[in-house]
């Protein structure tokens, strides 16, 4: 007889990341997955769901509250033991590096829990990478916008063509060993401070 399917609770205030984890768990064949974003009233939810495994992001400021609740066996009926197997130091490190923590009911076999934690870790890492790339893309876009504004200022105030304005920014950046976007930002700030207010 196959073991009963595991009940998994994912607590993550970040909705997107929680969905990514949930999708991963479902793809791996877990259909008893509950996602909670807000910890208000969590004790009753935990008692109702009666989870075997709880996955929490480390950024959650309520971790101390949640952990205390898991340790009070009355709240969850069965004692929640700990973060996976203590002996598996590398798995613990990988989880904390990724920013995820997991609690597992006492007596659950390691080989049933390990794939869940591994999946959570890899999805957390993928999410962090995605967030970083988005952030880079956004700052790249903002850099371009500020360069356009700086070019506009140079064109208006020094009568340069767009190409010459850009060349001047680039040359200044190279001379000062700075990024073009940073030079442009300084110019825009200075213009805002010194120039006749453009609509400000």
């Amino acid at each position: 007889m196959p073991p009963a399917p595991l009940s998994i609770l994912v607590i993550d205030e970040n909705h997107i990341r929680a969905s990514i984890i949930e999708a991963g768990l479902r793809e791996a064949g877990h259909d008893r997955v509950t996602v909670v974003h807000d910890v208000a009233g969590i004790a009753a939810r935990v008692a109702a769901i009666n989870p075997d495994v709880i996955v929490i992001d480390l950024e959650n400021p309520n971790r101390d509250m949640l952990e205390n609740m898991f340790q009070l066996s009355r709240a969850v009926r069965r004692p929640i033991a700990m973060f996976v197997d203590r002996s598996d130091q590398s798995a613990i490190e990988a989880a904390i590096d990724a920013g995820v923590s997991a609690y597992v009911v006492d007596g659950l076999r390691q080989e049933r829990v390990k794939p869940i934690l591994d999946m959570a870790v890899s999805r957390f890492n993928a999410f962090s990478r995605l967030t970083r790339e988005l952030e880079e893309a956004r700052s790249e876009l903002e850099g371009r916008k500020v360069i356009d504004r700086a070019k506009g200022i140079l064109m208006a105030q020094r009568g340069l063509t767009e190409e010459a304005a850009y060349a001047l920014l680039r040359k200044t950046a190279m001379n000062q060993n700075r990024r073009i976007a940073d030079v442009a930002q300084s110019l825009v700030t200075a213009a805002d401070l010194l120039g006749p207010g453009d609509g400000q």
């Binding site: 480390l58 700990m82 613990i92």
Partner: protein, 407 residues
């Protein structure tokens, strides 16, 4: 070559010694490149110390003991070679609860006894009326906060388990929870009591420094493995933190310290919210102020010395509230967690006043008392419990038995 040390901390006033050690160059002067990492929960501090992200951390005094006793889900052996100050907490109640307490005789003087007796009457009246139990929040189940709150309640005739409910709330969320009516009161460090007063959500009813004067709070928790492997780095850090304590203890530096801690990388709240704890002049309600000179002590009264009697008092309260069993082995584990020997050997080159004993009878000193110590002069106390009782670490069995009988 410089010692690379990474320390975790929680945004609280009593991270001051670590912050000043870095910002005022004391760590650098000891050859330490100190990195401070702000964390959002004590659980994260514990876990990141366990996996080696942090070498040392700002910790609740009972936490390393609880970890060594196996009461935490993930922990590495830890030691406490230094305390990070004395006092610093307060008990804040909602405006509604304060109104009930005031009607029952509570006074605006922060005295634990009248406040606690008024609270006992409120609790009794609520029970008679069939109202819900009052709900108090603390920051962690293994904290000075929960033990001093329960000590105060129990000494005033309130059963902390039957008469009130205790919940865990992270410090920065306390004032909002009070304002929203989710909790009726809480015990927390600063600036999170002042935060509730500033927001008009609550009233400071009493303070840690009045419940137990000169009482232990945060400590430097250190991974035992690292302490053993890097004993020189640890000794250098203790000297840097001691110099930071000297600087923090100087009244003329309070403004600068408050401004430093208010930075977004640290506590991230207005400097004005940090001054009350540093000066002892507290705004306790929208219309009231009170002065508690020794509200938070970063230096005086051997405030950074890791007394084994402090560790043992925390242990006695873990036993009292059913968190652990009293046994010779557990007692030894608690006592050995605190390491006054490492403190002494690290600070010896500074030629400063060091306590000669590892333990003292807590509550025995009614007034400031000069004590014999190696090198310069040192003053300890007053250190009394508000109910006049004593904690003699050599008679801990009696203490534990008496507290059990009282329940």
């Amino acid at each position: 070559m410089k010692h690379q040390i990474t320390a975790g901390f929680i945004p609280l006033l009593d991270s001051a010694l670590l912050v000043a050690a870095k910002e005022k160059g004391f760590a650098n002067a000891e050859g330490i490149d100190l990195t401070l990492v702000r964390e959002t929960s004590w659980a994260n501090i514990r876990d990141r110390l366990a996996v080696g992200h942090f070498h040392v951390a700002h910790m609740l005094g009972p936490m390393p003991i609880a970890c060594n006793l196996g009461l935490a889900p993930l922990a590495t052996p830890m030691i406490v070679p230094m305390a990070l100050g004395l006092g610093g907490n307060a008990v804040t109640v909602s405006n509604a609860l304060w109104a009930e307490m005031k009607a029952a005789g509570a006074l605006p003087d922060l005295e634990p006894k009248p406040a606690g007796e008024a609270l006992r009457k409120v609790v009794a009246a609520r029970r008679a009326a069939g109202s819900d139990r009052l709900r108090f929040a603390v920051v962690h189940p293994h904290s000075g906060h929960v033990y001093e709150l329960r000590y105060w309640l129990a000494a005033c005739g309130i059963d902390p388990e039957r008469d009130v409910e205790t919940v865990i709330v992270p410090p920065p969320l306390m004032a909002d929870a009070l304002g929203a009516g989710t909790i009726d009161g809480y015990c927390v460090g600063e600036p999170w009591n002042t935060a509730a007063v500033e927001a008009g959500h609550g009233r400071i009813a009493t303070v840690k420094a009045a419940i137990w004067r000169s009482s232990p709070e945060k400590v430097l928790g250190v991974a035992a493995r690292w302490a053993e492997a890097e004993s020189e780095a640890l000794a250098a850090l203790l000297r840097a933190l001691y110099r930071a304590a000297l600087w923090c203890g100087e009244p003329g530096n309070r403004d600068e310290l408050a401004a430093m801690l208010s930075g977004v990388a640290y506590v991230g709240r207005p400097a004005e919210w940090l001054m009350p704890a540093l000066t002892g002049r507290l705004r306790i309600g929208t219309d009231a102020e009170a002065t508690i000179e020794d509200y938070f002590m970063p230096l005086a009264r051997a405030a950074t010395f890791p007394w084994r009697s402090h560790a043992l008092w925390f242990y006695s309260q873990m036993v009292r509230w059913g968190q652990t069993e009293h046994s010779a082995g557990n007692l030894a584990t608690a006592r050995e967690t605190y390491r006054p020997d490492l403190y002494r050997s690290a600070l010896k080159p500074l030629g400063v006043a060091l306590p000669g004993a590892n333990s003292k009878v807590e509550g025995a000193l009614k007034s400031p008392t000069p004590v014999g110590s190696a090198g310069a002069s040192l003053t300890l106390g007053p250190d009394g419990f508000f109910d006049g009782s004593l904690f003699d670490p050599d008679r801990i069995d009696d203490y534990i038995a008496a507290q059990k009988r009282d329940r």
